[in-house]
Amino acid sequence: MHEHDVIVGGGGGAGMRAAIAAHEEGADTAIVSKLHPVRSHTGAAEGGINAALRDGDSWEDHAYDTMKGSDYLGDAPAVETLCQDSPEETIQLEHWGMAFSRDEDGRVSQRPFGGLSFPRTTYAGAETGHHLLHTMYEQVVKRGIRVYDEHYVTRLAVTDHENPEDRRCYGVVGYDIKTGRINGFVANKGVVVATGGPGQMYDHTTNAVANTGDGAAMAYRAGVPLQDMEFVQFHPTTLPSTGVLISEGVRGEGGILYNSEGERFMFERGYANNVGELASRDVVARAEQTEANEGRGFEDDSVMLDMRHLGEERIIDRLENILHLAEDFEGVDALEEPMPVKPGQHYEMGGIETDENGATCIEGLYAAGECACVSVHGANRLGGNALPELIVFGARAGRHAATRQPETAQIRTGPSAKTEDGSVESPVALGEVEAGSDDVAADGGALLDATPDAVVSRAVEREGARVERLMERDGVNHAEIRADLQKAMTRNVNVFRNEAGLKQALRDIRRARERYVDVAVSDPSRTFNTDLIHTIETRNLIDLAEALTLGALAREEFRGAHWREEFQFRDDEKWLKHTQVAWNDGRPELYYTPVILEGEDGKYEPKERSY
């Protein structure tokens, strides 16, 4: 059993920022991460970090753009916190030595990005995330923060009080991938979940193979609602063969999209008459998909992205990484020819419901980063707003976990924030497959008021039993189930959605769940058993896919990234509210909480979003 004040699950940008903040509060802090921190997917981020740093810009403008971009599903207190804290956090990175691109005068450079009214995207070439991740890890090393790398968090140690809001998190269970040992990690002060996005739900994604939504699924089963999961961002420019991302920076710098008829369709077909390629991601992704669907695409349903006219010098200076990506993964020399691109799953706007301090409804459990939903992105995330989210809310979550500041949050979380029950007709049963199975209980130990040690030990025991069962029986290989799930999501829960498709997806997810009852690990080894890890991950993907699809079926409107064939309008009257899906006694329960449009000075009035 390991014991620390604060345990951070996940060593990406959010996790490391949380750990550094907790450490600065004097807490004995450890990171438990399935990948070594420098291998985290934050490293793949290309475009940049939005921060109002310059004269002529202000956090208020950034907040306004973000609220608009979110299609008014962001919570104003969260959005304003993001925009107020981002300059300081960004400069903090600069003070830690991050190799930002520089202006002539030696200050950090900023560039335009989609949906922004000011060029406020701070960047380091087209590899901002790589620099951010490594800079952050350098600070972790500098501070001597303990890192348990290649330790997979499989379960949260949470008491099983009837009401989720009475539950407490005392730590986590970590599986040491190298040795196969299952260890308890007791957190005297708090646990921060920062395990990243769930892109592996889809088969065409910009996300890493390790992005399987583990933390969100664990928090969900432990009793924290998942919020706004139906809002999935599809990035308009991914390479068709692999899903590798071509940064929005290309369009920010002036890259042009055209179809097989040679039309600059964003303008010529009226998708965004004012800003064209620089419209919000959802707008561009739909435009491309429409072009492809209507037969004006290139093979593989793609369109072309051209940056040749920007000139070599500018490309090499600001987008060199793009040259390498296009070359290595698509065989295209982007200095000489346009690149084929198509929409791909990119970012999950929803996630573990938290308040603006990173706190969840379970005491001692915090979340930050892409796995969390503090509600800064609402229905659509602006490019360059995720990295500031990592550093702003990572820091806040770490600080709060370390100090348990009783600071009251403006955003309420958990079942008591519920204002309305949801209703939706599912074609199949949802949730647990076998009554009385382990799946029904919260993820943690079945102990009400025991000591932290006892709760964590109990969780370790149960995890041991689960692993034992998976290893001993014979059955289905997880890879088959995962592939079917990915196909189902790509087919029916993609850029375009309709009722029949979403219902079919629920059926397919159900089938995956039923087959998962017989899943088995065939590698008998305790050493680096990736078969086991992937099997556990697959279960997490199933739970998240179900919550997502349920929310999507219920939301009968068109908002942000959520497009519904039958409902081609945004319905503020009925749908200006957050979707919550909670795992209740083994079944997903759907309910809603209000969106907070009230900001520091005034209210954000929903307006039509036009670009």
């Binding site: 990948l35 070594h36 420098v38 291998r39 997917h41 490293g43 793949a44 740093l53 300059p87 300081e88 400069i91 003070h95 830690w96 030595g97 190799a99 930002f100 691109s101 520089r102 202006d103 002539e104 030696g106 200050r107 950090v108 070439g125 590899e127 790589h130 620099h131 350098e138 600070q139 090393v141 190298k178 890493a208 193979v209 063969s241 692999t242 590798v244 010098e313 490309i315 090499i316 060199e320 990506l325 070359e327 290595d328 993964f329 698509e330 065989g331 020399d333 200095l335 000489e336 290989n477 890879a479 592939a483 590698d523 008998p524 080894s525 305790r526 050493t527 680096f528 990736t530 078969d531």
Partner: protein, 296 residues
């Protein structure tokens, strides 16, 4: 189309390094693409010739296997997997295919599949490469996949990276500066200076260089190319003060530091991020010499 860095290209890379900066990257890019095209055509021709004999639709992987824990697998061996080929398939795709379709115990690290996480460096057809960045079509068939040499094998293709991480830690891999501006003020850095350190900041900790280095293989304490490159990244950053620089030079100048490098270029050749490692090591040697002269 071919994507891996070929021997000839690596040479041309080394040449261009000696050229002045300016438009060099664009020229390099062109040259790389040209070489690639030529090579792809060449290989395509070769393959078509071979195809009558071989099954054109498949690649055969010969994969190193070892598991210390499972009876029958504790003796290293090679397993063969025949993988159906589709255009654009990388070595990583092929490994994933083999694992998901034939043997779920086949073990290797991978995550980003876009050459940024640094976890899938392996020894492929006798050379350190990132599997996700290596097109099967660039390799002769069968394809031999082994773990990185000179590192302890944990299982199958997974090696223990601890030593690599320890060497990285040894150079104090974090920014140190004496005069940090306050509040929202930035530490200005010239474009030239950023340009100077740019390549060194690209390292993804894949370990390919360390594994390819003869000196590192023979001297366990040698800091190795990646760690020295990390030291370079900070030593050359104008934002760190002069005394920090002295301290950094002392670190790389120690017994198992820069002077061990015998300029064999193997690290530079294998680095998937095209970092001119040998050149960086040489520059640090020069700095160290200059530095010593000061005290004479």
């Amino acid at each position: 189309m071919s994507t891996q860095i070929t021997e000839t290209e690596t040479e041309s890379e080394t040449e261009t390094e000696e050229q002045p900066a300016g438009d060099a990257p664009a020229v390099q890019q062109r040259r790389r693409m040209e070489a690639k095209r030529a090579r792809a055509e060449e290989e395509e021709a070769e393959r078509t010739a071979e195809e009558s004999a071989l099954d054109g639709e498949t690649y055969t992987l010969k994969v190193f296997r070892y598991d210390p824990e499972v009876a029958g697998k504790e003796r290293p061996r090679f397993d063969e997997f025949v993988v159906p080929y589709r255009k654009g398939m990388t070595v990583l795709d092929a490994l994933i295919y083999a694992r998901d379709h034939y043997d779920s115990s086949l073990t290797f690290r991978h995550s980003c599949r876009q050459a940024i996480c640094g976890s899938d460096a392996m020894f492929v057809n006798g050379r350190q490469r990132l599997c996700c960045k290596t097109q099967l079509s660039d390799l002769s068939n069968p394809v031999r996949v082994e773990p990185l040499p000179h590192q302890e094998v944990v299982k199958d293709l997974v090696v223990d990276m601890q030593h690599f991480y320890d060497q990285m830690d040894a150079v104090e891999p974090f920014f140190q500066t004496n005069d940090l501006p306050s509040g929202l003020e930035e530490q200005h850095q010239t474009r030239e200076n950023r340009e100077k350190i740019k390549m060194s900041t690209r390292c993804i900790w894949c370990g390919a260089c360390q594994s390819s280095c003869n000196i590192a293989a023979g001297d366990n304490q040698y800091l190795g190319p990646a760690a020295i490159n990390k030291a370079y990244r900070f030593t050359m950053d104008e934002r760190e003060g002069e005394d920090v620089k002295q301290h950094r030079l002392a670190v790389v100048e120690q017994e198992h530091g820069v002077w061990r490098c015998q300029t064999q270029f193997s690290c530079t050749e294998v680095c998937p991020k095209d970092i001119p490692l040998t050149k960086h090591i040489q520059e640090l040697k020069r700095e160290a010499v200059k530095n010593n002269l000061k005290f004479w």
